[in-house]
């Protein structure tokens, strides 16, 4: 009997020693999807035949002694902006509901090469921006901790499916917080890696200069395993970087002694006021890091509204350019949230966009300067626990400054880490951020924190 909940690390151990077959594992996830996804709507398309075929291939390879590593035979979900060969990749939109790519996204190819089993395509906000929307061909995903609540977005389907055990991990994308937001609201681990670490090729773009692909899984260790499979230079992605890729899992030593952490408290106590439960949880997490031997001191940056304005203006103007032709010819084929947000993007001028880019250079230098004597910075990932899904404002991305956008502006690796639960059982989180291409340090800190706290033991009761 396959457990309801397994991490990648747990499953990989069992698969490698042939105590668990990838076929059994995939069958158990398909059964779980059938049982639970009617409530969660995390998938817009399940691929049972293809998944079972891939699982059988993985099983044969492993039996023949050709074990590829910890992603071999692992069931994964793909956010439905990751192009998937021969499978509709829709962006959760009527506008692209019939788009069937001829090739996988580069990072999907890498995941398949590592032996992953693709279970299906996961819900997203429309084109990674417009949601939660109820006027699209498929419903929005629901939070597994309370199905009346928002998952966060835009990697909403991944956010819902992983904690519920429907898949062991999934892909996300993050242009202003779309990995970290659902990770925060749904209590999983999600890292927006350094810009350029994972190829953007074959992922439907929201904003070219802010889009990051990344893993979402139950633990930091699982994120490290998945990142290992996804990271690496792609000569056909003009933003793809070529840093040396370390062994992310080996970097998880459990030791944070001597790490220097800057706490950006004003971001969530003044600039975008978090509720008391969130503030208390982050304070406790900072204290935990100190107990483990890290040093934590408060730092001050420019007001959050400035970071958010810079990033949101760049994001929305780039998105407008991407979708301009369709917005002009088939405006009402888009969902209302996406299309009306795009109208606001059309109000900005070319000069506004360039000014935002000038501000971006200044802010990148500011964070780099602030981190000169630090290894990490820490702040909130979200100001509250998950709100009710029908109370998310249409212009939500604009009305309160985003806690996650600063680190899209700077291209820094940034991770959401669960740090407790409210009295009503909803996850709380903090955000930990590293220097560019020091993703291993971010993962090490997150992993050490998880090992020292009980939060990973708790799953939604479904």
């Amino acid at each position: 009997m396959v457990p309801d909940y397994l991490t990648i690390a747990e499953a990989a151990k069992l698969i490698e020693t042939k105590e668990l077959s990838p076929v059994e594992l995939v069958e158990s996830r398909l059964a779980r999807i059938e049982k639970l996804d009617g409530q969660l709507h995390s998938f817009i398309r399940v691929l049972p035949d293809a998944a079972l075929a891939a699982a059988k291939t993985a099983e044969s390879e492993i039996v023949a002694g050709r074990y590829k590593g910890p992603m071999h035979g692992i069931p994964i979900g793909l956010k439905d902006i990751y192009e998937t060969k021969g499978v509709p990749t829709t962006g959760h939109s009527k506008v692209m509901q019939d788009h069937v790519p001829a090739a996988d996204a580069y990072s999907v190819t890498k995941l398949r090469d590592a032996g992953s089993v693709v279970m299906g395509k996961l819900a997203t906000h429309e084109f990674a921006f417009g949601g939660p929307s109820f006027d699209l061909p498929w419903p929005p995903a629901c939070n597994p901790w309370d199905t009346t609540r928002f998952t966060g977005g835009s990697s909403s389907g991944t956010g819902a499916s992983v904690p519920a055990g429907l898949v062991l991990c999934g892909t996300g994308s993050d242009t202003g917080g779309s990995i970290r937001g659902p990770a925060a609201y749904c209590g999983l681990a999600g890292i927006k890696p350094s810009y350029g670490l994972i190829s953007r090729r074959g992922i439907l773009p929201l904003a070219f200069s802010l889009d990051h692909a990344g893993p979402m899984a139950w633990t930091a260790e699982d994120c490290a395993i998945m990142l290992q499979a996804m990271a690496g230079h792609d000569p056909e992605d003009p933003a793809s970087a070529s840093p040396p890729i370390p062994d992310y899992r080996k970097a998880l030593t459990g030791d944070v002694k001597g790490l220097r952490i800057g706490l950006i408290r004003h971001f969530y106590t003044t600039d975008n006021e978090a509720n008391p439960a969130t503030c208390d949880a982050i304070d406790a997490a900072a204290k935990k890091f100190e107990d483990m031997g890290a040093s934590v001191r408060e730092i001050t940056l420019s007001p959050l509204a400035e970071w958010a304005a810079c990033g949101v203006l760049i994001m929305m103007t780039e998105a407008y350019a991407i979708h301009e032709a369709n917005l002009r010819t088939r405006f009402t084929d888009f969902g209302e949230i996406f299309r009306d947000r795009m109208v606001l993007a059309g109000l900005w001028t070319a000069a506004d966009y360039v000014q935002a880019l000038r501000r971006r250079r200044e802010l990148v230098d500011e964070l780099d300067g602030a981190m000169a004597g630090l290894d990490l910075v820490m702040t909130a990932a979200a100001p509250t626990e998950a709100p009710k899904i029908d109370e998310v404002p249409k212009f939500a991305v604009l009305d309160r400054p985003s806690l996650t956008m600063p680190f899209n502006v700077t291209g820094s690796p940034a991770m959401s880490v669960c740090c407790g639960f409210t009295d009503t059982g909803l996850p709380l989180s903090f955000q930990i951020v590293g220097k560019r291409f020091a993703d291993a340090t971010v993962l090490r800190a997150a992993d050490a924190y998880e090992r020292a706290t009980p939060w990973r033991e708790r799953r939604p009761s479904l």
């Binding site: 304005a309 917005l327 109208v343 059309g346 900005w348 506004d352 935002a356 000038r358 250079r361 212009f395």
Partner: protein
């Protein structure tokens, strides 16, 4: 932003926005204006944007 101003912008952009959505968009346009104002800091004429980069030499 007034409705008239929004209607003029939409005509220029070529966007066929339903009547029912226009008032709400006009009422929220201030967010866009505020964000544009926040990025317009006083800066030297030579202050570079983030996207000026050196081309690869090969």
């Amino acid at each position: 932003m007034t409705r008239q101003e929004l209607d003029a912008v939409l005509a220029r952009l070529g966007l066929d926005v339903p009547e029912a959505e226009r008032d709400q968009i006009a009422a929220n346009a201030h967010y866009a204006e505020a964000m544009a104002a926040l990025v317009k800091k006083p800066r030297w004429v030579g202050a570079e944007p983030a996207h000026t980069v050196a081309f690869p030499e090969k």
